[in-house]
Subunit: 478 residues, 2 copies
C-alpha cells in the first residue's frame, strides 16, 4: 500500500559516489529535471535550504555595508564585449536572445552569465564624486552558462547565486574588501554549514576572466575530491577604464575607481550533500535545515500521546526552532527512514511511557546518539543537541580534510599519492603555467589554490626543478 | 559646491503627472535606465522597498501553507504551446533564445512571461496521489514581456514579481483558494501599503489567458486613473488536462487536479508612488519604508548634539525601527528636502535646546505635522507617529477613491463623467463583450471589475438597453 511503502533505496556511496549523490538529490526531493538538458527545478525542500542560506548570508553582507539591487537579465553583445578577457571567457557559453515580440532584434542579447558589465554600465552613469564611494552592491538572481555537461547543484546551465560588486576610491581598500568577503564566505561555510575550508589565491590560469586576482575557498568532499565553494575577485581599475567609469577625487582629479566582485551559488548545497551525507541520505547542518527537529509520536493512538506531541511542537516553535510533527499513519520505521533521508538533524521521539515519565528521547541524525531528556529542559536540550550535531559534523569533515592532505616532492609522487588516496596534494611551485599544465597532464590534478597559510616544503618546484615561489594545493575537482 | 547643492527639482504633478512620476522614480534614486529599451535597473533604494514588500508578503503566503520553489527561466516553445488560449496570449510578446553555447538550438526557448506551463510540466512528473494535495507553490523571480511601450514600475519588459501556483483535489477548494489569495493581496495593500482597493472579478475579455475566472484588486491613483494591483486566477482543470496531470483520488480513480495562480509585481511600487506621492516627492508607507525615521541633528557642531543624536539612533535601532542618522555637513534645508524627496515617513529633529530640555521634535512626512515628545517616551512616540502616518495616508487615499466613484445610467453620461472627473464610473451591464467594446470606443474606458460588493443601480444595461446582470466599474487604466 502506498502509505506503507518503504523509503526508496539509494545507492551506497562506496559503490558509486556519483549515483549516490544523484539519488540523494532526487529522493530527498531537492530537485527535479526539466525538459531542457542541464536545467533543474528547485523543489520546496531544496529551495528552503537555499532560502535559509540566503537569510543568514544576506545579514552578513549587510553588516559589511552591502546593499541589494537588481540588474537586468539581458546583456547587449556590444556591452559584453567591452572588456576583452571577460568576453573571451564567457561569450562561448552564453545563451543568446535574437527575437523579441515577434521581430528579429537588431543586436543580440546574452542572458547574463555574470553581471560585471551591467554593474559597470550603471556606475558609468551614476558615479560622480568620491563622496559616493564605496558603492557596495549585491544581487540574488539566476545566471545561465550553456555548458555541455551537467549535474544537480554542481553544474547547471541555469543556477541560483548571489553576485556582489563593489567600487572603491583606492586599490588598497578594494583589495582589502576582496579579502573581507572571502572571509565572510569562509566563516559562513565553517560556522553555518559545518564545512571546513582552505583559503587561498587562485593561479593566473584559474582566476576569473578579467580579474587581477581571485581568492577562493576550497572544500574537500567525502570522496576526497575538491569543491570550489566561493570566490572573490579583485579587478584593479581594468573594468573601470574599459567602461569609462570615473569620479572626482579629493584633489579634484578624474580617476577610475577600483573594483571587486564575489559570489557563491547553490553549488554550496552540492557541497553540503557531499561533505556530510551518508548511505541513509542527507545530513543537514542544523543552522540551514528546513526542519531542525521532527517530532515522532510513538503509539500515537494511545490516550494523551498526540496531545503531548502537539505540546512539544508548540513549545519548540515558540522557542524559534523549525520543527515538524509527523502524526501521519505511516509506520515508525518508515518515518525514521524518511527523515533520515531528508537529513533532519534531530528526531524527538515521544511515546506514552516517555510522556508519563516527563521525558522525551532526542536522536541525532549525524551519529545516531540518543539522549533522554526531561521535558522541563526541552528547549535547552534541543538547542544543545543541535549544537552538538553541528560540532560533530564539523569535526568529521575537518578530520576528512586534515587526514587527506599529502606532501609531495616530485611529480611522480604527487601522481601516486592522488591515485592512492585522493585528497589534496601540496607541493612547492615555481609559478609557471607550464608546470601547472604538466601536473594536469601527468597526475590529472588542477591547482586548487596557493593557501594563505603558506609552509616552506623546500626550495625548488618539484615539476621543473627551478626555484620555488609558493606552496600550492593540487586536487581533482568537481 | 556639490555638498550644498539643492535637491533637484521635480515637475509639479498638476502640471504633468507623467513627468512628475518619472522625476520621482529617477530623483529618489529608485531606478535607472539600462541600455535596453524598457528594461530598468532597480537601484538600492527602490530594491529595498521591494525587499520589505517581499518579507511581509512571504510570511503571509507561508501562513497559507505556501512553499517557495524555483522553476527554470526558459520554456521550450513546444511546452508553451500545450494550452491554446495561454500561448495565444503570451507568445506574441515573448523574447526567444535561439542560440546556446555557440550553436543554433534545435528548438527555440521563450524567456518565461509567466510560468504556468513549467509548474504544470513538473506536476505531471511528480503528482501521483490525493495524499500529496494540495500543492501550494510560489516563486519570486523576474519575467519578460516584450512590450512596445514602457514606464518605470508600471510596464517593464523585464519586471520582478511573485507567481503563486497551486493544485487542489476539488474545484471548490481551488476556487476558495483563488479568493483567499486575492484577499491576502487586498489586506496587504490596505494594511501595509495604505492603498485602499476594490475587489472584484474581471470580465471574460479582461481575464488571464487560459483562466476560467480572474479576480482582481483595483486601486485609484492620485490622478484618478485605475491601477490593477494584483490578480488571482482560477483555472479549473483545463491546464491539468492539457498537460496530462492526474492523481489517484480517494475512490482510486485517476482524475485531474484543479489549479490556481496569482501574482503581484513591482508595479505595486508604481502604485505606492502614484497613490501617496506629492510635489515634494515620494511619501512611503511606514511598514515598507527602507528608512522609517531619519534623525537630523540641528547645530550639530555644538557640544553634545551629535552624541545625543547617536543615542537616539541607537535606541530606535534597538527597538527595531529602520532609522538613519544624517550627520553629514549638508545644510538642514538640503537634508529636509532630500528626505522628503525620498519619502521617509518621520523626521526626528534634535537641537541643543531640545536635548537640554529632554525632548525631540517628530515631523510627519505625509502632512507636515510636528509633535514635541519627551525623550523618555521616544520609542512609543515614534511607533505612534508611524501609525498615524499610515492612517493619514490611508484616509487620504480612501477619500480620493470614495469621492471619485460616479454612477452613470447612459453611455453618454459615463463618457461625460469620465471626461469631467476621471475616477471609476459604475453602471449596470448585460455581460456582453459588444457593450464592453462600445464603452471603450465611445468613452475610452476599459472594464476594471465586477465588484464583489454589488449594488443594484437599475434593471437594464445602459449601453444596449437589454437586461442587466451585474454592476461593473469602468475606468482609464495604467
Amino acid at each position: 500500500m502506498a502509505k506503507e511503502k518503504k523509503v526508496e533505496q539509494i545507492t551506497d556511496m562506496e559503490v558509486d559516489f556519483g549515483q549516490w549523490f544523484t539519488d540523494v538529490c532526487t529522493k530527498a526531493q531537492l530537485i527535479d529535471y526539466s525538459s531542457i538538458k542541464g536545467v533543474f527545478i528547485y523543489r520546496p525542500y531544496g529551495y528552503a535550504i537555499w532560502e535559509n542560506i540566503q537569510a543568514i548570508m544576506d545579514k552578513e553582507f549587510k553588516k559589511q555595508g552591502v546593499e541589494n539591487v537588481y540588474m537586468p537579465l539581458l546583456i547587449p553583445e556590444s556591452l559584453l564585449q567591452k572588456e576583452k578577457d571577460h568576453v573571451e571567457g564567457f561569450a562561448p557559453e552564453c545563451a543568446w536572445v535574437t527575437m523579441g515580440g515577434g521581430e528579429k532584434l537588431e543586436e543580440r542579447y546574452a542572458i547574463r552569465p555574470t553581471s560585471e558589465t551591467l554593474f559597470c554600465e550603471h556606475w558609468a552613469n551614476v558615479l560622480q564624486t568620491h563622496r559616493q564611494l564605496p558603492m557596495k552592491y549585491n544581487q540574488w538572481c539566476s545566471v545561465l552558462r550553456w555548458e555541455k555537461t551537467s549535474r544537480p547543484f554542481l553544474r547547471h546551465r541555469e543556477f541560483l547565486w548571489q553576485e556582489g560588486h563593489t567600487i572603491h576610491a583606492t586599490a588598497e581598500e578594494a583589495r582589502d574588501f576582496t579579502e573581507t568577503m572571502l572571509n565572510v564566505y569562509a566563516d559562513f561555510c565553517e560556522n553555518v554549514l559545518a564545512m571546513p575550508v582552505t583559503r587561498g589565491q587562485k593561479t593566473d590560469k584559474e582566476k576569473f576572466n578579467g580579474a587581477e586576482a581571485t581568492y577562493t575557498i576550497e572544500c574537500m568532499m567525502h570522496d576526497r575530491k575538491a569543491l570550489q565553494a566561493g570566490t572573490s575577485h579583485y579587478f584593479g581599475d581594468g573594468f573601470a577604464k574599459a567602461f569609462g567609469i570615473e569620479f572626482t577625487d579629493k584633489n579634484n582629479q578624474k580617476v577610475p575607481p577600483h573594483e571587486t566582485s564575489w559570489g557563491v551559488s547553490t553549488r554550496l548545497i552540492g557541497g553540503i550533500i557531499m561533505t556530510h551525507g551518508d548511505n541513509n541520505g542527507l545530513v543537514l547542518p542544523p543552522k540551514i535545515a528546513p526542519i531542525q527537529a521532527v517530532i515522532l509520536p510513538i503509539a500515537q493512538h494511545k490516550p494523551g500521546v498526540l496531545e503531548g506531541a502537539e505540546a512539544i511542537k508548540n513549545r519548540l516553535v515558540e522557542a524559534g526552532f523549525r520543527v515538524k510533527l509527523d502524526d501521519s499513519d505511516n509506520s515508525m520505521g518508515w518515518k525514521c527512514a524518511e527523515y533520515e533521508m531528508k537529513g533532519v538533524p534531530l528526531r524527538v521521539e515521544c511515546g506514552p511511557r516517555d510522556l508519563e515519565n516527563g521525558q522525551v528521547v532526542l536522536v541525532r541524525r549525524n551519529d545516531g546518539e540518543k539522549t533522554v531528556v526531561a521535558l522541563e529542559d526541552l528547549e535547552k536540550a534541543v538547542a544543545e543537541q543541535l549544537e552538538l550535531v553541528h560540532q560533530g559534523m564539523f569535526a568529521r569533515a575537518k578530520k576528512n580534510l586534515d587526514d587527506h592532505i599529502y606532501e609531495a616532492h616530485s611529480l611522480e609522487e604527487a601522481k601516486e599519492l592522488q591515485e592512492k588516496n585522493g585528497g589534496f596534494i601540496k607541493t612547492m611551485w615555481c609559478g609557471e603555467l607550464e608546470c601547472e599544465l604538466k601536473m594536469k597532464e601527468v597526475a590529472g590534478m588542477s591547482s586548487r589554490c596557493m593557501p594563505f597559510a603558506q609552509e616552506n616544503l623546500g626550495d625548488v618546484c618539484p615539476i621543473c626543478g627551478k626555484r620555488a615561489k609558493k606552496m600550492i594545493l593540487w586536487g581533482v575537482a568537481y
